[in-house]
């Protein structure tokens, strides 16, 4: 186990493929390496292969092809119980016939840790998740959020270096979920554990992770820190999947200097930043975030292209205004404006000009 390997690539997937039926690949040529202490989220729609990757890492599924390494050691042939990976399950999987303390003591017992040390560790783990007084309860007597904390404590009590979490917050209500997101990241960073977190909730992925791997169709579409993922999506799937997005289709007219001119299908011209279009004449989907659309012409450069838009609907959402427009034949173009005292409230039926900074508009694959 070379120390250089553990530092830069504690967890590694190398050319991993997985097929259940021998006909279709659920995971296609997966390559991933995580440094120690990283919080990585696997994000993707259901059926994208993210959970399968997690299960292969945990040992409940075997890779059809390729190598999975932890700390430089291939774990393909190591049974799950010898991998020493902590895991939090979607439905918590707390043992209903044991008390909370017994649940936590279970991983220590099978490791043959003495009773006094065991009790001490269990208490410390319970305190860590602020559940110190609940040791004697049964899981069924706890609320969802409390069960979640216990499941977390149980995954951490034997001090694993790697913890896997399979949509652990899926069953909680919004407020509790947000609170637990914070708790989990805090613990992960405090304890310096390497965490692989699976979710289909993009907000969760963005707020918690050091890096996010966006899965679709058995592949990682993009692996980047949250801000990069949001601001510089590498393809139209990522742009669509992360956050809200306006999409217009067209053809590249001019390209060069990190800028391109796109002629929309309606004939209008717009400025964009080429991401994965290379040549004039390529079909493209351009994507603009609703909050980056400018309705105040003064803020744009004088030579910027603008589009005519008709206001269809104005929705008051408290902190922001959400306005739906008809732009270049699409009537699902949305813009978001901050609820500031000087902000105009657009009335349905009015015609306005909209534009944006070229770097905010990404010309992606069609």
């Amino acid at each position: 186990m070379a120390s250089s390997a553990t530092d830069s690539a504690f967890v590694e997937f190398e050319r991993v493929q997985k097929s259940y039926d021998g006909e279709t690949l659920v995971v296609k040529d997966l390559n991933l390496s995580m440094p120690k202490g990283e919080f990585l989220t696997m994000l993707g729609p259901s059926g994208s292969g993210k959970t399968t990757c997690l299960m292969m890492l945990a040992g409940f599924e075997t890779a059809t092809h390729g190598d999975i390494r932890i700390g430089g050691v291939s774990i393909n042939n190591i049974p799950p119980h010898k991998r020493g990976i902590g895991m939090v399950f979607q439905n918590y999987a707390l043992f209903p016939h044991m008390t909370v303390a017994e649940n936590l003591a279970f991983p220590l017992e099978v490791r043959k840790i003495g009773k006094s040390e065991r009790e001490e560790k269990v208490q410390r783990a319970l305190d860590m998740v602020q559940m110190g007084r609940f040791g004697g309860r049964r899981p069924a007597q706890l609320s969802g959020g409390q069960q979640q904390r216990i499941a977390l404590a149980r995954a951490l009590v034997f001090q694993p270096e790697l913890v896997l979490m399979d949509e652990p917050l899926g069953a909680l209500d919004k407020q509790l979920r947000e609170h637990m997101q914070f708790e989990i990241t805090r613990l992960a960073h405090e304890l310096g554990i390497t965490t692989v977190y699976v979710t289909h909730d993009q907000t969760e992925a963005l707020t918690m992770s050091d890096r996010v791997a966006v899965f679709d169709d058995g592949r990682i579409q993009q692996l980047a820190p949250p801000d990069q993922l949001y601001e510089s999506p590498q393809n139209s799937f990522v742009a669509q999947f992360i956050g809200e997005n306006n999409t217009l289709t067209g053809v590249v007219k001019e390209i060069g200097n990190g800028k391109c001119l796109v002629q929309l299908d309606g004939g209008d011209l717009i400025d964009a930043k080429p991401v994965n279009v290379k040549n004039v004449g390529d079909r493209t989907k351009v994507s603009i975030r609703p909050e980056r659309v400018e309705i105040n012409k003064d803020r744009l450069s004088p030579d910027a292209h603008t589009l005519k838009a008709e206001v269809l609907e104005f929705i008051y959402m408290g902190d922001i205004f959400r306005t739906r427009l008809r732009v270049a034949g699409h009537d699902d173009f949305v813009i978001k404006t901050r609820n500031a005292p000087d902000q105009v409230r657009l009335q349905p039926g009015t015609m306005i000009d909209i534009g944006w900074l070229p770097e905010d508009c990404h010309a992606l694959d069609a």
Binding site: P80, H81, Q90, N91, F106
Partner: protein, 513 residues
């Protein structure tokens, strides 16, 4: 609260009626509807199931045949000391003569004999043989002497007139009692008119006894009976059958003279009620305790083997993909679609001495030809066949419970470092215990009352208490004992159920979901 307003602490609806009353009315329709829906089944069960069972169970303590058939004897026996070791006196026999003579007319003395025979062997034949002789007792001499003394005593119409007179009846209580019984016989059995028939000997005997006791009535002819040679009924009975001299017979009659008896229940647990109180039956008559114990032990063994065989199958079923699980499930259910009798008979073919299993074992040289295994007509046969028949009742609840155990439990255990066995034993198994509980209760209760299979493959060493109950119902016709045995079985099952509830908790029994 738009439709209900608070008025002086009481909720009322918008139009001022009590909210409770209004709700009650609204719900009543639903209740009536529900009742109507279950009414046919409820009635059917009440009439055809609950009521007969209750009636049957009552027979376990019912004993009115004794006081109904020989009421006078029971009263007369009150003064007799059963522990004295002596035959009762003349007055008991006199009462018994009247009772017996009446019973003989109705032929109910044989039924009484059978009833008492359950308590003391030999009474049945005693009653039967005496029944043939009681008409020829020498009490005839009283009749002859009365009719010789005065022709009025030979006149049926005169008798009817005397017996209609309250003063005569009050003066001659025994005569009136005997005459009433006799006239009832005449009306009931012969469809004749008492005023046209000669009274029977026991009526004259009653008259003799009354007159001997010093009764005198002006309206009937005065006869001096003191000079007549008395007929000792005690001797008459003992002459007819010397069994009547045995105090044990009378002790039995006295002991079982009540309307209700604990005799059947005592018999069910190999005890008996005799003159000396409750005692154990003689060694060679004790069979029921052995049978109960055997029934329970074999049921436990059957339940145990069902768990051993059913658990792995249910585990496999619960963990297979749905399609294969369904195929396997059909195989599990297949025996249900075959007649119980056919399955049991199949076991007869397989298990018998010259049967398939023995043949194969001999062919494989596992056993010698002259040393074939005794697999049938003993407890082994009962266990094998009943385990097979009751296995689905174990598998189904186990399966439905196992189906609800999330696979993530075992995964979680493994991720925490437990090997396959520890994960199973510490996590999976405890969660499947409710299924074992439900299956065990089902199999145990079914097997404890099983009849047909032990009957066919059990021989003598492998039969259950239910076979004995069936024997008493259909062969020995001792329904009281059968009812008592059945009641004990029922109480046993309820007690075990209660015990199970106390130890395991009935909430822990799951049939799935």
């Amino acid at each position: 609260m738009t439709d209900a307003t608070t008025d002086a602490g009481k909720l009322t609806t918008a139009d001022g009626q009590s909210l409770k009353k209004s709700l009650h009315r609204a719900l009543r329709r639903q209740k009536v509807r529900a009742l109507m829906l279950i009414a046919p089944l409820l009635l059917f069960i009440l009439l055809s199931f609950i009521a007969p069972i209750f009636d049957m169970l009552l027979r376990s303590v019912e004993n009115d045949i004794v006081p109904d058939t020989i009421p006078r004897t029971i009263v007369a026996l009150d003064d007799w000391d059963a522990t004295s070791g002596e035959t009762p006196g003349e007055e008991v026999f006199a009462a018994f003569y009247t009772d017996f003579a009446i019973a003989e007319e109705y032929k109910s003395h044989t039924r009484l004999g059978s009833r008492l025979n359950y308590e003391l062997t030999g009474i049945s034949s005693l009653f039967r043989s005496t029944g043939r002789k009681v008409g020829k007792f020498e009490t005839e001499s009283y009749t002859e002497q009365f009719t010789a003394a005065d022709a009025a005593f030979a006149d049926p119409a005169q008798w009817a007139a005397w017996m209609a007179d309250d003063a005569v009846r009050a003066a001659l209580p025994q005569t009136a009692d005997a005459y009433d019984a006799w006239s009832k016989i005449v009306v009931d059995l012969n469809n004749d008119v008492p005023s046209e028939e000669d009274p029977a000997d026991f009526v004259y005997t009653g008259l003799y006894n009354d007159l001997m006791a010093g009764a005198s009535v002006a309206s009937i002819p005065s006869v001096d009976v003191s000079g007549w040679e008395p007929v000792s009924l005690r001797e008459q009975f003992i002459d007819a059958n010397d069994g009547w001299a045995d105090p044990a017979v009378w002790a039995t009659i006295k002991t079982y003279g009540g309307d209700y008896t604990s005799g059947y229940f005592l018999n069910s647990v190999d005890m008996q009620l005799s003159g000396e109180g409750v005692t154990q039956r003689p060694e060679d008559e004790r069979i029921y305790i052995t049978l109960f114990v055997r029934t329970i032990i074999l049921s436990i063994v059957i339940t145990g083997s069902c768990i051993l065989l059913g658990y792995p199958i249910a585990f496999l079923l619960a963990n297979l993909p749905l399609r294969s699980a369904n195929v396997l499930m059909i195989l599990v259910l297949l025996p249900f679609w075959t007649s119980l009798l056919v399955r049991t008979s199949a076991w007869k073919v397989l298990l018998q001495n010259q049967g398939v299993i023995n043949d194969i074992l001999v062919w494989l040289h596992v056993i010698a030809d002259d040393n074939r295994l005794e697999l049938i007509n003993n407890a082994t046969g009962t266990i094998i066949a009943m385990t097979h028949i009751l296995l689905p009742f174990m598998i189904l609840p186990l399966y439905s419970v196992m189906k609800t155990i999330s696979p993530s439990y075992v995964r979680a255990a493994k991720s925490m470092g437990a090997n396959d066995w520890t994960a199973f034993w510490r996590v999976y198994f405890p969660n499947s215990v409710p299924g074992i509980g439900a299956g065990s209760i089902l199999v145990f209760i079914l097997s404890i009352g099983y009849y047909i299979t032990p009957e066919l493959v059990g021989g003598t060493k492998g039969v259950f208490i239910s076979n004995r109950i069936a024997y008493h119902i259909s062969s020995s016709l001792n329904w009281g004992l059968a009812a008592a045995l059945g009641s004990i079985l029922l109480i046993l099952v309820l007690a075990l159920y209660w015990l199970y509830d106390r130890i395991v908790g009935i909430d822990n029994v799951k049939l799935g979901g």
